[in-house]
Amino acid sequence: MKKNPFTEEELVSLLKNKDANAYNVLYDNYSSALYGIVSRIIPAEEIAQDLLQDVFIKIWKNIEKYDTSKGRLFTWMLNIARNSAIDYSRSKQFKLENKIHDIDNSVYEVNEQNIVSFNSDTIGIKEEVHKLKEEYRKLIDFIYFKGFTQEETSKELNIPLGTVKTRVRAAIIELRKKMN
């Protein structure tokens, strides 16, 4: 992550003022994370790049609507990126392309609900994720990349809601340890 010379409040204020320098800081600091999120849902690079472009244009267009009561700037942008990619994965165009990819032995697959499931062996999730306990990995996948609520995750993984909440923290602490 590159050095951010502004506090989050300063950056947001400059972005709302359509400051080009602030845009550069925004891109340099967040493009990799947002691209990674988009890529996990839509691994096809060309499409993921187009989606990232859409994401930054949306951010730029809607920055005036953002304020800190909506949470962290990253959290807000994460939602935009994830929603753009998920919307695309549900589009007719994606389904059509996906059929073609199926014929070509695609590296990713879409389940019955057309929700992307991830093949971590082929789409390059970082090494440390492999070492995470399987349950942590699933938790992060569901909540962070798929945008599931804790309730949905609880149902999907068949674990109690309270356990989901504590495991999220444990999973992130685990991630942090692996990075260090």
Binding site: M1, N17, K18, A20, Y23, Y27, Y30, S31, S32, A33, L34, Y35, G36, I37, S39, R40, Q49, L52, Q53, F56, I57, W60, K61, N62, E64, K65, T68, S69, K70, G71, R72, F74, T75, W76, L78, N79, G124, K126, E128, V129, I140, I143, Y144, F145, T149, Q150, K165, T166, V168, R169, I172, L175, R176, M179
Partner: protein
């Protein structure tokens, strides 16, 4: 609850992942402003999640995306209405210009029409005048015709005397009404101070039947005084306004009844 317990409760992870309600978010933000540790934890968790997702896009993408970004102030969100307004403004101006031009064209058309109407009215007036004079002259002619053709008329030819042997005049004398008309077309033009005078010869005496002018209109029939019991008519040249008795030396025409 001490800060460490708060931090380890899992609420900060939920906050960064966007899993909290608006009320819970406000609470975390209030805590983060109060306690530097909370803010530090937020940034740490955020950094961890960002690094975990991180995949570098191709470096050329930065320039490509930047070229799609509009850096002019009050852009994008407010750009749309602005664009719309300027489009509307341009359209209204175009409409205004169009309608103005059309108005000028209409006005010119109206002017042209007014001019045409004026000229038609003028022509109509001319036709009316022409018609009036035509019908007047027709009326005169009809009247003259009526006089000439009257069954009770007596036509008397007045022949040129020594003064003007080639002169000739026709005199119509209505035996019922006693009206006398003379049609003169070949007497010499008199000087301004003289007029021709018609005389009726009644029982050897000359009776004044009125003076007449030479008209350019040769066909013109002139009404004279009514005459009773004339045996002959004569025309002499007299002083203007006529004389009480004829100047025999200036007799131009004469004819017997």
């Amino acid at each position: 609850m001490n800060i460490q317990d708060y931090i380890s409760s899992g609420i900060i992870e939920s906050y960064v992942l966007g899993l909290l309600s608006e009320k819970e978010r406000a609470e975390v933000e209030a805590m983060s402003r109060k306690h530097a540790e909370v803010l530090a934890e937020i940034e740490l968790i955020e950094g961890t999640l960002m690094s975990h997702a991180s995949k570098n896009p191709p470096s050329a993408l930065k320039q490509k995306i930047q070229s799609e970004i509009d850096f002019t102030k009050n852009t994008v969100l407010t750009l749309q209405p602005n664009k719309n307004r300027s489009w509307l403004l341009a359209a209204s101006i175009a409409l205004l210009i169009g309608s103005s031009i059309y108005n000028v064209i209409l006005l010119n058309n109206i002017k042209d029409n007014e001019e045409q109407i004026a000229s038609i009215v003028l022509k109509n007036e001319q036709y009316a005048t022409d018609f009036e004079s035509q019908s007047k002259s027709y009326g005169e002619m009809a009247q003259e015709m009526a006089v000439l053709m009257h069954p009770e008329n007596k036509k008397i030819m007045l022949k040129g005397m020594e003064m003007s042997p080639t002169s000739l005049a026709a005199l119509y004398w209505n035996q019922n009404t006693k009206d006398v008309y003379i049609n003169v077309n070949s007497l010499p033009m008199p000087s301004d101070d003289k007029q021709y005078q018609l005389w009726a010869i009644v029982d050897g005496k000359a009776v004044d039947a009125g003076v007449f002018d030479m008209k350019s209109d040769s066909a013109s029939l002139q009404k004279m005084k009514t005459i009773v019991g004339a045996q002959a008519f004569a025309v002499t040249l007299e002083k203007k306004g006529g004389s009480s008795s004829p100047t025999m030396s200036a007799m131009y025409l004469m004819g017997n009844v």
